[in-house]
Amino acid sequence: MGVMKRMSLIFNAKANKVLDRAEDPRETLDYSYTKQLELLQKVRRGVADVATSRKRLELQATQLQQQADKYDGQARAALAQGREDLAREALTRKSALTQQIADLQTQHAQLLAEEEKLTQASQRLQAKVDAFRTKKETIKATYTAAEAQTKIGEAFSGISEEMGDVGLAIQRAEDKTQSMQARAGAIDELVASGALNDPTGSPSDDIQLELDRMSSTSDVEAQLAALKGEIASAPAPAAIEGAPAAAPAAAAASPAEAKQPEETA
């Protein structure tokens, strides 16, 4: 016996076990229907959970991409200023991020496929649950317990198999989202710790600081040179004219100062 037959027997055995437990098989119809509705809810929650994880990955990929773009800009700025060492460092960091982004994109594709599968599973299950509801009412109304036993078998096995299948799909989706959430959490921590800078925040990584220092240094030098130029070309008499103008003012001030002690005395 191959894989196909064995797996089918395992699914059927599961269904039969539930049926055998019931004294009146018609009771299992209502019980099963309740379970089906619960499972439908679970599948829908599963779809929502996967979508949430997928959106989180998208957000992180965007953040990492912005950071990579920033490193790229830094590398250009560093090269323009003749700092090949800094440019190399920035590009090294960029390539590490590029790897992370590629990983995220792979995971994103997986989650998207998972979401699609669960959505389809949810639709299939919904169709079967609807069919089951109709059938169970017919069976309950028409047949005696003994007759129901055989009639119920097929409907019940069919829905039970579908539920087993969907249940497996949900488990897989949960496992996948959990491992991805752990990873996403690690990336969030990286972003929060500042190792990956907030793209909207002020530049504070060491490459940026070095670039800033260099540009502010050259800026200071430029201003200094400009000032020196202004001073060197300034006409000398201007400085001398200022001195006589200050002297009368000082002289005018001194009589008032001399008066004050008299007023207070």
Binding site: G2, I10, F11, A121, K128, D165, G167, Q171
Partner: protein, 92 residues
């Protein structure tokens, strides 16, 4: 005969094509038992492709069990081994 691909749904398969599936199915089981991972994925992909090619999808609202069940395309060898070895793995 109705065949289910886990995660994909049910297909109606003509009896004479089941013969062709059986050969591949035995190879698949051999791969599972010997732990031949590459062989497992190759044979499973071939088997699923054949089912999709010759099978007619069963309407979603059909209520009936499958005579044959195949693992989904992205199943791992370990998952299938667990499914075959422990029926408690199937929830519900």
């Amino acid at each position: 005969m109705i065949l289910r691909i886990l995660g994909e749904g049910q297909f109606e398969i003509a009896d004479h094509t089941v013969e062709a599936l059986n050969g591949l199915d035995n190879d698949l089981l051999a791969a599972v038992e010997s732990g031949d991972d590459a062989g497992f994925h190759r044979i499973l992909a071939e088997l699923l492709a054949l089912v999709r090619e010759v099978g007619v999808p069963v309407p979603d609202d059909h209520l009936g069990p499958s005579g044959l069940v195949l693992p989904g395309a992205d199943s791992t060898l370990e998952e299938v081994r667990a499914l075959l070895g422990d029926e408690g793995l199937i929830p519900g």
